[in-house]
């Protein structure tokens, strides 16, 4: 039972973006994943990418408070990576029989589907922000992502007063909204 509570600590740490915990997760899991990817036609870079994606999937799950891990983190991460990598191989047409050492896996298809949706939304938001151009992008990022206050933003960008900056910010937001929803609806 001790190990279970330890796993809970790790999950909470991940959800809180705690770099110490994340390092822990890397140390405990990365080498297995790397070995698996390397044994299955992958490169070191592939291992890095797949692992990162699996960690984000786990992060998204950990964020939603309702998540209960039904297996060890190790098993979960391995299952996600295995699924992701086999899918990638299939897409590349490099599919061969998976080689693994009978490590237990669980079904993670639902979670990955969920993650793919999040990932698509992330990409759309990323594109939308980028196509806004400056100073809109930085202004919005400053206010909504870094949660800076209007006064500080106004002086950083050189607006004469906070009200002007605020108006500008709303204009930018309206553009972002248009850009985002134009694609997000299709994405759904």
């Amino acid at each position: 039972m001790k190990s279970t509570s330890n796993e809970q600590v790790l999950l909470k740490g991940l959800a809180a973006n705690d770099s110490f915990i994340i390092e822990q997760l890397y140390k405990e899991n990365f080498s297995t994943i790397q070995a698996f990817i390397l044994a299955n036609n992958g490169s070191y870079d592939d291992a890095k990418d797949v692992f990162q994606e699996a960690m984000i999937t786990l992060y998204e799950k950990a964020q939603s408070g309702s998540f209960v891990l039904t297996c060890q983190i190790k098993t979960y991460v391995y299952s996600v990576c295995r699924r992701l990598w086999l899918k990638k191989l299939q897409q590349l047409g490099r599919f061969s029989h998976p080689v693994d050492n009978l490590e237990e896996t669980i079904s993670v298809d639902d979670d990955l589907e969920e993650h793919a949706k999040h990932d698509a939304a992330f990409a759309i938001m990323d594109r939308a922000l980028k196509s806004l151009g400056e100073p809109c992008k930085s202004l919005l990022e400053g206010y909504y992502l870094q949660k800076m206050d209007m006064q500080a933003l106004a002086s950083e960008f050189g607006y004469t007063n906070a009200d002007n900056a605020k108006n500008q910010k709303y204009k930018c937001l309206m553009r972002l909204k248009k850009l985002f929803f134009a694609q997000y609806n299709i994405g759904e």
Binding site: N17, S19, I22, E23, Y26, K27, F30, S31, Q34, Y44, D45, K48, Q52, M55, I56, Y59, E60, Q63, C71, Q72, K74, T75, H97, N101, L102, E103, E104, H118, A121, F122, M125, D126, L129, L140, Y144, L145, K166, N167, Y170, K171, L173, M174, L176, K177, F180, F181, Y184
Partner: protein, 368 residues
């Protein structure tokens, strides 16, 4: 301009900065103006997406930094390591290109030749074999699954130990001697679980890694020894085409499987084993293989990784050999006596199984 004011109001509403009166008024407007209602919903969604975006972005940053950190500290590697010997490395770097070209030319030739050889020689397979023992994770799961059961009888496991491997095993002497595969016993101790879920503490009496066999002795006051076993162990070899069946624990429950003997030798001509045609899964390692008469003809141990249904079993005469080893080295203790008569030969399969079930155990090995 109006839009801007509206947006500001919506934002204020969504971030709960309105006072009660304002809020009621705004909610009324929302209710009566579908357009504004729609704007509020969209705005909330957008803000939520931006939040999500920002969180994922920062976790990505942390992950990338962590990876970089660990890389720099050598905790993980992203290249094939070449360690030691400064000069060798220099030489290696200098001639890397040449060497790799030479190697690939050599490789192509080798491939061509081996392709030719493969084409000309009778079909052979390059698949591997897998041991059928359970791995840690699977055991962990079964432990959870069995949690209730184990709690009821108060697990016999010493505190603070870790399961590291598991499989099946079966009695060869009613006094409590069990045979299983050596690769099932990766730890320093073992417990066995019978078909009703009762656990017994067992000690490792003998471990023969060459033959891949292990003998366990149940050392538990709760165990009532059986006067005689319903089956015997076959001394002679078995013939091709013989129908066989097995009972084992690929999961927490005993599982029955059937097939036939397909070759007199095992993987790559291994004369200690038979090849069988049947399905087997991790956890089946150490399970007995019976013939129609209910005699043990082998111990299920490995399977071919890439071919479905190709399974290998150690021949039963190996059991006699390890039992002999045990009896000669075991001065003073009780010798193992193997029964040579099977009294279930005329029973129907269902009755055979019902009789045999209680003699097949789920073996779990742990480490302190």
């Amino acid at each position: 301009m109006e839009d801007l004011i509206l947006l500001e109001t919506i934002e204020k509403y969504l971030s709960n900065q309105m006072d009660a009166q304002e809020k009621i008024a705004f909610e009324l407007v929302r209710k009566n103006t579908p357009d504004i209602d729609q704007m509020v919903v969209e705005h909330a969604m957008l803000l939520q997406q931006m939040d999500q975006y920002s969180m994922v972005k920062s976790i990505k940053l942390t992950l990338a930094q962590t990876y970089q950190n660990l890389l720099e500290h050598g905790e993980i590697s992203n290249t094939i390591e070449v360690s030691g010997g400064g000069k060798v490395i220099q030489l290696f770097n200098k001639y890397k290109r040449v060497a790799s070209i030479a190697a690939s030319v050599g490789g192509v030739i080798a491939l061509f030749i081996s392709g030719l050889a493969l084409y000309l020689s009778p079909a052979s397979h390059n698949s591997q074999i897998q041991q059928l023992s359970n791995d840690i994770a699977a055991i962990k799961k079964s432990q959870q699954y069995q949690g209730k059961l184990i709690n009821e009888v108060k697990s016999k496991l010493p505190a603070g130990v870790k399961f590291i491997s598991g499989g099946s095993g079966f009695l060869i002497d009613g006094k409590g001697f069990i045979v299983t595969n050596a690769h099932v016993i990766k730890g320093t101790g073992a417990i066995v679980v019978d078909n009703t879920g009762k656990e017994y503490v067992a000690e490792i009496a003998l471990l023969d890694k060459v033959k891949d066999l292990a003998i366990l002795k149940i050392n538990d006051p709760d165990f009532t020894s059986k006067k005689s076993l319903p089956y015997s162990i076959r001394k002679s070899t078995t013939d091709l085409g013989e129908e066989i069946f097995t009972l084992g624990y690929p999961r927490n429950e005993i599982v029955y499987g059937t097939g036939y003997l397909s070759a007199r030798s095992g993987y790559e001509g291994d004369s200690l084993s038979y090849q069988l045609q049947m399905s087997a899964n991790p956890g089946n390692s150490g399970a007995p293989v019976f013939d129609n008469a209910g005699e043990v003809i082998g111990v299920l141990s490995t399977r071919e990784a890439q071919l479905e249904g190709v399974v290998f079993a150690l021949k039963s005469n190996n059991i006699f050999k390890v039992v002999n080893d045990y009896n000669t080295s075991n001065e003073g203790g009780k010798d193992i006596k193997i029964s040579t008569r099977s009294n279930i030969s005329r029973m129907s399969r269902k009755n055979q199984i019902a009789t045999l079930e209680s003699c097949v155990y789920y073996v779990k090995s742990f480490d302190k």
